[in-house]
């Protein structure tokens, strides 16, 4: 049996929605248990007083990256069938800046705001409301911003393709970077 299971037709649309719901609930539960529903804790990342965000998210990146690499190496995952979002350099850079500003101002990102709201925090509810309003504004203004939205297209690119190096080299480099970041985080937290 090979993955992606949906692409290979092992389950259909309705089952895929059910799987997404179960994974989404599990994701939210783990975010909450990791303390990611607290705006104070998340904002602490920007002031280097609490490095939990970096550690949680870098752990997630390394876990999924190693999982994808080794599943593909073992022949259990058909990697070319995994959807890769295309890169639009300038609009995505602008989106990153807007995302970062919203994150530091609200203390929550889209996923963590839902976790925060689900646990009854009013700041979480406010961020979810703002996010939905932003989605509405984006859709209403799309005809005006569409040229920028579709500018600087680079296609479905990956870091190994850009650097022209084997996939495994990049995996190793990211693992090293994560371990170094974890060590630096411990050092920063110990100093405070």
């Amino acid at each position: 049996m090979s993955a992606p299971l949906y692409e290979y037709g092992l389950f259909g649309e309705s089952t895929s929605l059910l799987v997404a719901l179960v994974i989404g609930i599990a994701f939210g539960w783990f975010l909450e248990r990791g303390g990611m529903g607290s705006a104070t804790k998340l904002a602490g990342q920007f002031y280097l007083t609490d490095m939990s965000v970096l550690k949680v998210l870098f752990s997630a990146v390394v876990t999924s990256m190693l999982g994808v690499f080794w599943l593909a190496e073992l022949g259990w995952l058909d990697l070319p069938l995994v959807y890769l979002p295309p890169t639009y350099l300038l609009p995505q850079l602008a989106g990153g800046v807007v995302f970062g500003l919203g994150f530091v101002m609200g203390g929550l990102c889209p996923g963590t705001s839902c976790v925060s709201a689900a646990t009854g925090r009013r700041d979480g509810l406010a961020v979810v409301g703002g996010m939905l309003f932003g989605v509405f504004l984006f859709n209403e203004s799309f005809p005006w911003i569409e040229p920028f939205y579709r500018s600087t297209p680079m296609g479905q690119i990956t870091i190994p393709e850009i650097l022209g190096v084997p996939f495994g080299w990049v995996v190793f480099a990211v693992v090293l970077a994560a371990l170094a970041a974890f060590r630096a985080s411990e050092w920063i937290e110990a100093r405070r």
């Binding site: 190496e73 190994p160 080299w169």
Partner: protein
Amino acid sequence: MTAEVTSEKILGALAAALGLLALLAGNDTLPARESGVIGALAVAKAIRADPEGILIIDIRDQVAWDDLHLPRAVHLPSHPPSEPRTPLAAPEWREQLERLGATQDQTIVIAGGPDSPTRTLWLELRKAGYEASYMPDMLADWLDTIISPTRAPTDDPEVLARWSELAELSRYFGGFPRVIAEPSVREGSVSERLGHARRRGCAI
């Protein structure tokens, strides 16, 4: 003094070991990303260049097929009449393609509508050992790209050269290429006007 062994350190060591093994094992770059999607322009060029070298399988229902289909296409509905809920699987594809006389060196294109299981069937066709592509929304793509292509006025020689080639190809298939004076005032694509609007999804 002995260092304390914590779960974080064990997980870190495991990640380092798997990363190091990846460095040794990952001696290939990523496999080519096969989206499997082929556009109307590529299909039109292939039909014109070598009509015998391409096999277009139209998997839409009888009404859609009777309404309009691509030149040289054959009609093979995605679901066999005996089992209307089960799309064709790899062995059935092999049987059908052998019956149609398809060869391994032919370009095979699955042409479907917006709700056709083109990607699932493409995967089955791959499993059956055929190199194939698919057009997820054949009719809209064909109408907009080949039958009624448009462009804005321009002096850019590169754009004009590409347009000249496309317009010539369009006329070959009975199309009517047009230059639109005011591209900001869009009258809608031909597929939209005919009620075959192309569905937009996150993958586009």
